[in-house]
Symmetry: C2
C-alpha cells in the first residue's frame, strides 16, 4: 500500500473561506483581517470584548525527546483537536508559527502531517502573515537606535563594551554569530564585537508571546535592558526611546492568526519561539483568546517535555495564570526503538526488546510531568509499520508507570483515527483531576532555580557555573530580578547537554556557559552546553531543492 | 485658515472594499488576494490573461532636484491620476512601496499628501504586504548559502576575498556598512570582511522590479554573480543552487499590490528601489499590467529627473520595451526659492527674484527630458503661501524654455484642483508627439555610458575613475556584459556629486568610487562621490516619536 505525501494531502484539502471558520467561533467578518482567502488575523477589539467570558479547558501536547524517527507532536495536536470536534466537543488548536531558518536547513514543515494538518501549509512555512518579519524589524530597529545613540554623542553614557542587545535574522546563518561592526572609519561609528541570533530566539519574540495585550507589549519592550553604563546601571529600551516605534511595528503581529485544519476546524497559529533556545510556546494572547472561544483548547510546546513542557508550566502558565487540565505525551514505537539504540535504517524490523530498552525516556517524562500536578496520558502516534507486539510492549510499560497509552491513527485517518484519544482526554480534563503548580517558587534564588530544573527534570547530579556567572546572577538578584523564572537553553536531543545521550541518562552535569537577562520578557536565559542561539545550515541545505514546479506549486519545502 | 494634516485627511478617507476597486479594473474577486480589507495582490493568472490586450498611454511624473521645501512628486502623481479620472478618462496610478529605513529616520510618508493620497497610508509606510521583507529574506538566504558553501568544502572554489554578495536589512543602520563576519572559531566559518546594504539597494529588489514574470525572475536570480573564483571566473547564484528557493520566497511578492486613492481610484504600489542608490522605478509587472487595464497610466520615478527619470528612460523603458507619451515635471515655488539660495526658514516671504534665480535647475531638467524625445509639461504643485507674482515668474521662465507650466491645486482640492493639468496632459499624450529613445545605445562601451550620463544629464566636465575601475569595466565587457546600461548612484540633492551644489552647476567632475555588476538585474552600478548604499539615522530619528496613541492610532509616522 502506498500513502500520499503530506503535501499531496494538503493540496487536496477542501478549505473553507476563513470567514466561515471565524463564524464557527462567533467572530464577525469585520473582526477578521484577511490575508488571502484562507488566513486572517483576529482584531484586538474582538479579543478585548471576550475578556470576561468563561474559560474552556487547556490541554497541553508534549513529547519524548525528539529523534530522527519523528514523533509527530504537532500532528497529534491537530489530530486530537479534530478528534474532539468529531465527538461533538467545541475544540480548537493553538500552535506556533514556523521559522524560515530551519525550513531552508533540514527541518520539515511545522503544520502537522498526514490527515492531521493545518492549512495552508506552504504559506505557514514561508512568510505566513509576516509576524516574524515584524519581530525581526522591531528587534533590529532597536539595535540600530542603540548604535545611533552612541554615534551621536552617547547621552546615556552606554559602555560600548557592555551592549547586551544583538541583532536577529530569520535565517540559519552561522557567519553572523560573531561579528565586528562599525568598521570603515568615523562615519560608520565605533567598532565593537557583537552578533546575530535567529529571530525565534529574540527577546521581542518572547515578549510578543508573553504580553497580555498591546499596552503590556509596549511596557515590556520598554523594560528590555539593552546595555549597561560605566557604573553598571542598566540602560533600558525606553531610555533609547525605541519602545513606541517597536510597538507600532508589532501592533498587527500581536493579533492571533486564524487558519483551519484539513477537517475545517479552527486553529490559532501565533508566535514561535524555539523550545531549545527560547521558551517554546505559542502566544498567551492566542491561548487565552482560544479559551474564551472553545470548550477545549489543545496546544503544544516545542521539542521534548524536558524543554517545552517545563517552560510551558514554569514560565507561560505561571506568568499568564493558566493551568492545564491534562497533558498528552506523544511517543512512537519507532522513537522508542531509537532510544533503545536502534539506527534509523533498521527501524523497519520488529524489535520488541528495543522498544522496551527505549521506554525509560518516556517513563521519566511521565514522572516529570506528574510532578507539576497534572494528569498525563500517552498518545502513541501510530505508524503503519508498528507491530501489535511492539505497541503492546509500549502500552504495558506505560501502565507500569501508573499512566495509560492510547494508540491514535490520526495521521492515517484524521479524526476517525483519534476518537479514542479524544474521548479519553476529554474525560480526564472534565474530571478535574489536575492540581497544577510550577515546580519552583518565584522567591527561590536564580541559581537554585537552574539547579531545580537540572536535578528534578534533567536528573543531573550538578550544575557547573563559573564564578562570573554566579556573580552575574547575584547582581541581577540585587537589582530586583531574582523573582524571574529561568528559561533553559539546552539541546533537545537528550535530558543532558550531550545530544548523543539518549534514553534516561543519570550522573551527568549541566554546564551553564552564559546567562542573559530578558527583563522585558521576564526571565533569565541560561545557556547550557554547546547549544547555539544561531543555527547553521547543513552540508546540503534543503533550500537547494526548494523550487516552483511547472504548475507553479512549491516543491521541496516539506 | 488652518489645514488638516495628511494623516488627519487619510484617517477621514471613505475607503471602498478593495474588491470594489478591483471591479473598476475588471479584476474578479477570485484574482484578488486580500491583505486586510483595503489592499490586495493581483493574481499572476489574471495578469497572464491580459498579456495580449492593447496598451494605454504611459505618463511619467518626475521632479526637480529635491529640497527640504518638498516638491510633492507622489502627491502630483496621485493628483493627476485622480484628475484624469475626474475628467472621464480611465486612468490608474503606479507608484513605489515605501522602505522602513527612512520612515524611522527623517523622511515623511511615501503615499502623497493633502487631498492627493493613496491609502491605507500607515500600512503602506510599515510592513504593507510584506514585499520588502520577502526581498530581504531572499537576499540573505543567498548570503547564508554562500558562506555555508565555503564552510562545507567550497566545491565551487570561491575566492573568499572576492565574494561580491553582501547582506541587506530594511533599516538605516550605519554600524552594518562594514563588518567582519565568521569570527569566534572553526564552527563559525572563515572570517571575512563584508557588510549590509539597505534592502532598496538590493539586486533582488532591482530584479523583482525588472522581471517580466516569475520565470524571468528565476532566470535573473540565477544570473546573479555572487563571487569570483581564484581564476577570476564568476560564480553564479545558480551554482550555489539558491535561485529556486529565492523564487519561492518571492513568488507572492511578484504580484502587484492594489490600493486606492482618497477618491477611490485604483493604484498599484509595487517595488521600491531608491533612485539615488538603485534604479528608482516601480515594477515592470505593475506598469505593464496597468497599461492593459487603463487608458492612462501615471507613474513616478524617484528623486529628481537627473536620477529617477534618467533611469526610467535608459533602464526601465529600454529593458521592458516601454515608451512614455508625456513627462510631467513637478516644481514648486518654494523649491525654486531654495535653489535660488533662500533658507527654509525664510520661504514664507514673497521673493520673485529668488524664484527666478532658482529656475535654471528646472530649465536644465526640461532640456534633459526633451533629449529623450518626450514632450514635457511642468506641474507647479501649488502651496497656499505661493504668491501670484512668484507663480508668474516661474511660468514665464518655463515658456521661455519652450515648455508650459500649469498650476495644480490637488493638495488642497484633490481632483478639482488638478483638472486643468489632467486635461492638458491627456491632450499631449493623445497627440502622439513623443518619439522616445534612450540617450545611449546598448553597444556603447561602459565607461562611455557613464560619461554620457555625466556630461549630457549632469553637465559635468569629466568623469574621474582610477585605473582599477577602468580595468574592471573592461573585464566585464570582455565577459559579455558590455551591452548593459549603467545605474548611477549619486546624491539626489544636486546635478553634481556635491549635495550642497544647488541650481544648475557646471564645471564639476564626477568621481566614480566603485562599480558593481548586477548581472541578474541587468545593469552596472556606478557609485559616484560620497553616496552610501546603507544610510544612517539622524541625531534625533523620527522613530523616537512614533507611537500608538490612546485610540490605538499611529502617531509620528508622517
Amino acid at each position: 500500500m502506498t500513502y500520499k505525501s503530506d503535501i499531496e494531502i494538503a493540496r487536496e484539502a477542501k478549505m473553507q473561506p476563513i470567514q466561515e471558520i471565524g463564524k464557527k467561533l462567533g467572530i464577525p467578518e469585520k473582526d477578521l483581517l484577511p490575508f488571502g482567502h484562507d488566513k486572517a488575523k483576529v482584531s484586538a477589539e474582538f479579543i478585548a470584548s471576550k475578556r470576561s467570558g468563561n474559560d474552556g479547558k487547556l490541554i497541553l501536547v508534549t513529547a519524548i525527546n525528539p529523534t530522527p524517527a519523528g514523533e509527530g507532536k504537532t500532528t497529534t495536536t491537530v489530530g486530537l483537536g479534530d478528534g474532539l470536534n468529531a465527538i461533538g466537543k467545541k475544540a480548537m488548536v493553538c500552535i506556533r508559527e514556523a521559522s524560515l531558518g530551519p525550513c531552508f536547513g533540514m527541518k520539515g514543515g511545522a503544520a502537522g502531517g498526514g490527515y492531521a494538518q493545518v492549512v495552508p501549509m506552504e504559506e505557514m512555512n514561508l512568510h505566513f502573515t509576516g509576524d516574524f518579519h515584524a519581530i525581526t524589524s522591531a528587534h533590529n530597529l532597536l539595535s540600530a537606535m542603540i548604535d545611533n545613540h552612541i554615534y551621536w554623542g552617547n547621552e546615556q553614557d552606554i559602555d560600548q563594551r557592555r551592549v547586551a542587545w544583538r541583532r536577529v535574522v530569520d535565517m540559519n546563518d552561522r557567519a553572523l554569530r560573531d561579528i565586528v561592526t562599525s568598521l570603515g572609519g568615523v562615519s560608520n561609528g565605533f567598532p565593537r564585537q557583537s552578533g546575530f541570533d535567529i529571530t525565534v530566539a529574540s527577546e521581542v519574540m518572547a515578549i510578543l508571546c508573553l504580553a497580555l495585550d498591546i499596552n503590556d507589549l509596549q511596557k515590556r519592550l520598554g523594560d528590555i535592558i539593552v546595555a549597561y553604563r560605566r557604573d553598571r546601571s542598566p540602560v533600558y529600551c525606553r531610555d533609547i526611546k525605541a519602545d513606541g516605534a517597536m510597538t507600532v511595528l508589532l501592533s498587527q503581529a500581536m493579533q492571533p492568526n486564524l487558519v483551519q485544519t484539513l477537517e475545517n476546524n479552527p486553529a490559532f497559529v501565533h508566535g514561535g519561539p524555539f523550545a531549545n533556545i527560547a521558551h517554546g510556546c505559542n502566544s498567551v494572547v492566542a491561548t487565552t483568546t482560544a479559551l474564551k472561544l472553545a470548550d477545549y483548547v489543545v496546544t503544544e510546546a516545542g521539542f521534548g517535555a524536558d524543554l517545552g513542557a517545563e517552560k510551558f508550566m514554569n514560565i507561560k502558565c505561571r506568568k499568564a495564570g493558566l493551568a492545564p487540565s491534562a497533558v498528552v505525551l506523544v511517543a512512537t514505537v519507532r522513537a522508542m526503538k531509537m532510544n533503545g539504540g536502534i539506527a534509523k535504517a533498521d527501524l523497519g524490523a520488529e524489535n520488541v526488546a528495543a522498544v522496551q530498552a527505549g521506554c525509560p525516556n518516556l517513563g521519566r517524562h511521565i514522572e516529570n510531568l506528574k510532578s507539576f500536578g497534572v494528569p498525563v496520558v500517552v498518545a502513541v502516534n501510530h505508524f503503519v509499520t508498528d507491530t501489535d507486539a511492539e505497541i503492546k510492549a509500549l502500552q504495558d510499560y506505560v501502565v507500569e508507570q501508573g499512566s495509560e497509552a492510547i494508540v491514535s491513527k490520526h495521521w492515517e485517518h484524521g479524526s476517525k483515527g483519534s476518537e479514542a484519544l479524544a474521548i479519553r482526554v476529554a474525560e480526564i480534563a472534565d474530571a478535574g483531576l489536575a492540581n497544577f503548580a510550577p515546580i519552583y517558587p518565584d522567591e527561590m534564588p536564580l541559581l537554585e532555580k537552574i539547579e531545580t530544573i537540572a536535578k528534578r527534570i534533567y536528573r543531573a547530579d550538578e550544575v557547573i557555573a563559573d564564578q562570573k556567572i554566579v556573580a552575574q546572577l547575584k547582581q541581577w538578584e540585587e537589582q530586583g530580578y531574582g523573582h524571574l523564572p529561568v528559561c533553559m537553553a539546552k539541546t533537545q536531543y537528550s535530558f543532558s547537554t550531550d545530544p548523543n545521550l539518549r534514553g534516561a541518562p543519570t550522573g551527568h552535569s549541566v554546564p551553564v556557559r552564559e546567562v542573559r537577562l530578558s527583563a522585558g520578557a521576564g526571565f533569565i536565559v541560561a545557556i547550557c552546553g554547546e547549544i547555539m542561539t544561531m543555527p547553521g545550515l547543513p552540508r546540503v541545505p534543503s533550500a537547494e531543492s526548494i523550487m516552483l514546479n511547472d504548475e507553479g506549486q512549491i516543491e521541496g519545502l516539506f
